[in-house]
């Protein structure tokens, strides 16, 4: 299964011939990615009859291009109006939205596109080169290791809470409690459902996302005529193509940052059941932990935008690896691809790359070509997209409410989910007006049920022995990494402060 360069190149050229499928799919992907509720997975399910009617190659080109472009599309509203299109973009507004409010939306979009493209391309190449080894990751990640990975994501709550630790922790722990709503994972006992049958499967993610970010934002932005600050408005009036070029320059100057955060995304993507939300939270947390300027995070810091964007695009390549190598989908979209490929009689594993390289390598090549075409099409659009922030809040707020509330209906098609989004909207509004971070709540809602699931699995397998958490070699390595990632920033901070104190103590001549 080692990559043969000749075959890979010929598949690449072959894939380019599908540009006429990829190009319109990119625009569809950007739209469905930008509307909360319309993930790539939902769209592929909706268009499944069409996909099954296409020949296999074209169907896969369509699905992979839609997957990659929707990932990038989700970042656009996250940056411009503080509404992540999918959970994978939930960490993007932490620094993207402050940039947009400062009138740097165009720059932020350009940075996001470059980070997504470079991260996506890099991880695609790495995926092809290291496929056999990366596929092993799916086998070695058991419940204990997954618990530590979840804790990496959850520790972002503490990072976000740095301004007022107590408030941040209350928000994060309430999020975890909300995440525990629903039937328990072993005996299906309903918990905290308030009698609603619709909550037995747990809190649906999209209504929570829509409510906490979009609806609460719509209630808040009406305090001003514009979403922009005064300085931001002035900056937007003077904006030119230079802003796009500057955004690209900043992103390229952070190439090392893009590299390692996209690799985090690749590795998390390989783990079945993990996904882009975890990858982006972990990448943001790690990025801040090891930054020389952690205090700038949350204020519109380029690194805080680049980290989650490159990581969630790294996930895209990662999820394809277990699918193609061992036939286990890494996420919802990959699971639908599995159905389509099985429908066409495709066999997985080394035989796929030997007998049908145009399928095996082809899926990665489609991703690479999609990213290349996307760069050429979407970068010039960043200037016009960023103009959205200039629209008066009198028009923007009702549009946000109606389209996102309707978006919350889409995944399960329950009216209940619209009421739920509204309830989360009020919760988010109260939280934001009183200084509690909605991202901390969302992290809890996303990761709470996953953490509980893996914890219970580990407990059941060890018959209630808590020491199982420290029973695996890889798990212990990850525990040490987690401890280091939490402690090192404090150590660095302490050293910096000591150096600063020492410098100020030196008597002037």
């Amino acid at each position: 299964m080692d990559a043969d360069l000749g075959i890979v190149l010929s598949v690449f050229w072959h894939t380019l011939s599908y540009w006429w499928v990829i190009l319109p799919t990119i625009f569809l992907g950007l739209i469905v990615g930008a509307i909360p509720g319309f993930s790539a997975a939902n769209t592929i399910i909706i268009l499944l009859p069409l996909t099954l009617a296409m020949d296999l190659e074209m169907g896969l080109v369509f699905m992979v291009a839609l997957y990659a472009s929707s990932r990038m599309g989700a970042g656009v509203p996250a940056i411009l109006v503080n509404i992540p299109g999918t959970a994978g973009a939930a960490a993007t507004p932490l620094d993207g939205y402050p940039m947009a409010k400062q009138g740097r939306g165009q720059q932020a979009l350009a940075m996001s596109f470059v980070a997504s493209t470079v991260g996506g391309l890099l991880t695609t190449v790495l995926a092809i080169l290291m496929m056999p080894w990366l596929a092993e990751v799916a086998f070695v990640m058991h419940s204990v290791e997954m618990i530590v990975v979840m804790l990496f994501g959850i520790s972002l709550i503490a990072t976000i809470a740095s301004k007022d630790t107590l408030k941040g922790l209350i928000a994060g722990f309430l999020g975890l409690m909300i995440g525990f709503i629903g039937s328990d994972h072993v005996y299906a006992t309903p918990r905290g459902t308030m009698g609603f049958l619709e909550l037995y499967d747990g809190i649906p993610l999209i209504p929570a996302l829509v409510g906490l970010f979009a609806v609460s934002e719509a209630f808040l932005v009406i305090e001003g005529d514009s979403m922009l600050t005064h300085v931001g408005r002035e900056a937007m009036k003077k904006a030119s193509w230079k802003e796009t070029i500057e955004g690209c320059r900043i992103a390229f100057s952070k190439w090392w940052h893009i590299t390692w955060t996209s690799i985090i995304g690749l590795i998390v993507g390989v783990i079945p059941g993990a996904g882009a939300a975890i990858a982006s939270f972990v990448a943001y947390q790690q990025s801040k932990s090891f930054s020389k300027t952690p205090e700038l995070y949350g204020t519109g810091h380029p690194e805080g935008l680049i980290a989650p964007e490159s990581a969630n695009n790294g996930v895209t390549s990662g999820t394809l690896i277990p699918l193609l190598v061992i036939g286990i989908p890494g996420g919802a979209t990959a699971a639908i691809m599995l159905v389509v490929m099985q429908y066409h009689g495709v066999s997985f594993g080394p035989a796929l790359f030997r007998n049908q390289p145009e399928i095996g390598y082809g899926m990665f090549m489609v991703m690479a070509v999609t990213y290349l075409i996307m760069t050429l099409t979407i970068l010039p659009l960043s200037r016009y997209m960023s103009r959205v922030t200039m629209v008066s809040t009198a028009y923007m707020s009702p549009l946000i409410i109606s389209f996102t509330l309707v978006g919350s209906f889409v995944p399960r098609q329950y009216m209940f989910d619209m009421y739920l989004a509204l309830a989360f909207g009020v919760l988010g509004y109260v939280a934001r007006k009183t200084g509690y971070h909605v991202a901390a709540i969302l992290i809890g809602v996303i990761l709470g049920p996953l953490l509980e699931q893996y914890f219970l699995r580990a407990m059941k397998m060890s018959q209630g022995d808590i020491s199982v958490l420290f029973s695996s070699q890889l798990g212990n390595i990850l525990w040490v990494c987690l401890a280091l990632s939490l402690l090192v920033p404090y150590a660095l901070d302490w050293r910096r402060n000591r150096a600063a104190r020492a410098a100020s103590d030196i008597p002037e001549d």
Partner: protein, 167 residues
């Protein structure tokens, strides 16, 4: 004349809404699991206990600040700026009505009415025609995208039934 000391006081009443809601929810959650198997309890009791402890520490902090005269229990944070309070309540009310009415009014018509009324209200009664035009364009675009292209099964109302009848 206002006492300058009192204007500097932190208004912490609004900040208590969230932790008190968290406390109430956690106690409710506990009430639903106290007779359940341990698998349903373990994570919730662990996280819930920490949350209760955090909330109690927060309440203690507020009480101490109040006792020292550094804070009051006002709700300023959540209601300010007062000038837009009626509009904010109006928007929240319209949003609730939109969510209820979409079930029988259908997506397109309800969205149009909600957006038009909200835009007019937020514009303080100005630009009514423009508001109606923008709302009409976006509700039709939504109809074409969600119902025609993606075939999402939104509740049908008079507009959708009319179109279905015509074509």
């Amino acid at each position: 004349m206002n006492d300058p000391q009192s204007t500097e006081k932190k208004s912490l009443g609004a900040e208590l809404i969230f932790p008190v809601a968290a406390l109430v929810f956690t106690l409710y959650y506990f009430s639903t699991i106290y007779n359940s198997p341990w698998t349903a309890q373990v994570a919730a009791f662990f996280v819930g206990a920490i949350l209760i402890a955090l909330v109690l520490v927060f309440i203690g902090r507020v009480v101490m600040m109040k006792a020292r005269g550094e804070a009051d229990l006002g709700m300023r944070d959540i209601v300010e700026p007062l000038s837009i309070l009626p509009i904010r309540f109006g928007l929240i009310g319209l949003t609730i009505l939109f969510t209820i009415a979409i079930d029988w009014g259908g997506f397109t018509l309800t969205s149009f009415v909600f957006m038009t009324l909200s835009m007019i209200m937020l514009n303080r009664g100005k630009s009514k025609g423009l508001a109606a035009l923008v709302a009409a364009c976006f509700s039709l675009a939504g109809y074409l995208l969600f119902i025609v292209a993606f075939e999402i099964r939104f509740p049908h109302g008079p507009f959708e039934n009319l179109i279905d009848g015509l074509f």
